[in-house]
């Protein structure tokens, strides 16, 4: 019997008014997999992330994490069961420093009253801060942890967001376009870093447009188009798939004189 997948999206439906943004979408992310979620603009990739992380409720279907149904859990509790994510547009807290942003990622770990009421902001050598600094180092982020995030380069902020998402100790890490806006060297570094953390047993689901990054990192890919799943298989085969090519490039259709005449 195959092991329970880390994430199971099963017949998920979501409508915004008359627009169906997720139309009976089903796919599994196996435990320990590095899976890409791709699709043309407006395909519903970020919406799928928002449904899985609980930003919006689903209208039908079921989402489960490691066998546990999570679609009824409020968004703030999903991080506690092991689901963490980053955002397409960097959503670091602008008035918090680098280390404060990263330590915010630990929030769900600090469950006891004592850890909530400890003055972590004053404990320079404290356990929480050391953990956060260690993760920043591992990710190759070499900035003053007490500097403001707003002044940092885009690529660095992007990486800090990934580190923040990692601090909760997730089982499934969902990254929304982590490589967007990074230069080739930064993209390669990010890919190496993510491969490293995946080796520790973390499951990855990544929305990304940079196909060389996807090929480098993800063995499997699912493709969405207009809210429908059109491909679920190895990343190698994705560019040869007829439906995927059609979604990205359009169909080859020659307008006939009759069609043009009718349109006029």
């Amino acid at each position: 019997m195959p092991a329970e997948p880390m994430l199971r999206v099963s017949h998920v439906v979501k409508r915004f008014g008359g627009l169906t943004v997720a139309d009976d979408v089903s796919f599994d992310v196996p435990r320990g997999a590095k899976m890409a979620l791709i699709g043309p603009n407006g395909a519903g990739k970020t919406t799928m992330f928002n449904l899985i992380s609980g930003v919006y409720p689903i209208d039908g279907g079921e989402i489960s994490l490691d066998g546990q149904v999570i679609d009824a859990l409020p968004a703030r509790k999903r991080i506690g069961v092991g689901l963490s994510r980053s955002f397409q547009n960097i959503r670091l807290m602008p008035h918090l420093t680098v280390i404060e942003n990263v330590m915010l990622g630990q929030h769900v770990q600090a469950t006891s009253l004592a850890s909530l009421l400890a003055p972590v902001g004053w404990q320079r050598g404290g356990r929480w801060r050391r953990m956060a600094e260690e993760r920043l180092r591992q990710a190759g982020i070499d900035v003053d942890p007490d500097s403001a995030v707003s002044g940092l380069p885009y690529g660095v902020r992007k990486k800090i967001e990934v580190v923040r998402a990692l601090m909760s100790g997730p089982r499934l890490l969902m990254l929304d376009e982590p490589a967007a806006g990074l230069n080739p060297r930064e993209t390669a570094e990010l890919s190496a870093f993510l491969k490293g953390i995946a080796e520790d047993g973390l499951t990855l689901l990544v929305v990304e447009h940079d196909m060389s990054f996807v090929h480098d990192l993800c063995e499997q890919t699912v493709v969405l188009n207009f809210g429908r799943l059109i491909y679920d298989g190895p990343t190698k085969g994705v560019q040869d798939d007829e439906a995927v090519r059609e979604a990205y490039l359009g169909t080859r259709r020659v307008a006939t004189a009759e069609g043009a005449g009718r349109a006029a």
């Binding site: 703030r76 929030h107 909530l116 400890a118 972590v120």
Partner: protein, 290 residues
């Protein structure tokens, strides 16, 4: 201490505690323009407990705080359904209801006000102000403080990070109620008299200005804001009526030059001794290299 100085110190202490009440909600992104309402309830609760129920100060002040904390807790539920300018209006309306009720209530002396028998001196006010200041500094250094500031910046992402946004907001309103109640009770016991007219809209506006001009990013903000607003008008006294004009211009300039408040996190970081030392070392290092 001269009588004049004691008067200024007393009002500074009361304003400071009051400002911290407004600060704790503002730090978590909620603007409360109903401060005077909470302070009035605290002042009248202490006055009633002291003059009618004949209770000693060590009962009247905690009782006043408990009542305003409860009011803050209860009022947070309807108020937190509103956002931005609507929240400002909702809290403002709350304060107007409180003032209107106190003016018309014969139990609380109506427009005549109430005399408060037990007196609390300046040393107690100073001790309370220092205590509240330290408490808020401590709170802002904890994970709860971090969560408050995260909510201020981005509520949806705070939720995704596992922060119970609603619980933190309700808790800050409750704490704000308690602190505003403390400031009101101390006001009542120090000045030995309360009247509803004192707790008016202008007071709510002033205390919110203390906080916004001082800065909502760090606990230094209300301290600087209260000092600025309490001392500058006194220093400008030599200018006669023109002092209000000068003061008004100063506020407008402050908002134009430092829209995020006088004290920002970056300013605190720049002034902190640790950073000052490292920068000095860097500068020296550069000199050696050059």
């Amino acid at each position: 201490m001269s009588g004049y100085m004691a008067g200024i110190v007393a009002i500074l202490c009361i304003n400071l505690i009051f400002a911290y009440a407004i600060f704790v909600t503002a730090a978590a992104g909620q603007l409360n323009l109903g401060g005077a309402g909470f302070q009035a309830i605290g002042a009248y609760a202490a006055a009633y407990a002291s003059s009618v129920l004949m209770q000693p100060v060590w009962i009247t002040i905690p009782a006043a705080m408990a009542i305003t904390a409860l009011v803050g807790f209860l009022i947070s539920f309807p108020v937190l359904r509103t956002r931005g300018v609507y929240m400002v209006l909702a809290t403002f309306a709350f304060a107007e209801v409180v003032a209107g009720f106190l003016l018309r209530s014969t139990t609380f002396g109506g427009a005549i006000g109430m005399v408060v028998p037990d007196h609390v001196g300046v040393p107690v006010l100073i001790a309370c102000a220092v205590g509240v200041t330290l408490l808020v500094f401590y709170l802002m250094a904890t994970r709860v403080g971090l969560a408050m500031r995260a909510i201020h910046d981005d509520e949806p992402v705070s939720t995704i990070m596992g922060v119970n946004v609603r619980a933190v907001q309700v808790a800050t309103f409750t704490l704000a109620g308690a602190l505003a109640g403390l400031s009101g009770a101390l006001y009542a016991h120090h000045f030995s008299f309360v009247e509803a007219q004192y707790f008016n809209a202008l007071l709510s506006i002033y205390v919110l200005l203390f906080v916004l001009i001082g800065g909502t990013q760090t606990a230094w903000g209300p301290l600087v804001g209260s000092l600025f607003f309490t001392l500058i008008p006194e220093l400008l006294r030599v200018g006669g009526s023109w002092r209000y004009v000068v003061f008004g211009v100063a506020i407008v300039l402050m908002m134009a030059i430092r829209p995020e408040g006088i004290v920002t996190r970056q300013l605190v970081a720049r002034l902190s001794p640790r950073n000052w030392l490292t920068r000095r070392k860097t500068v020296l290092g550069e000199r050696h290299a050059g």
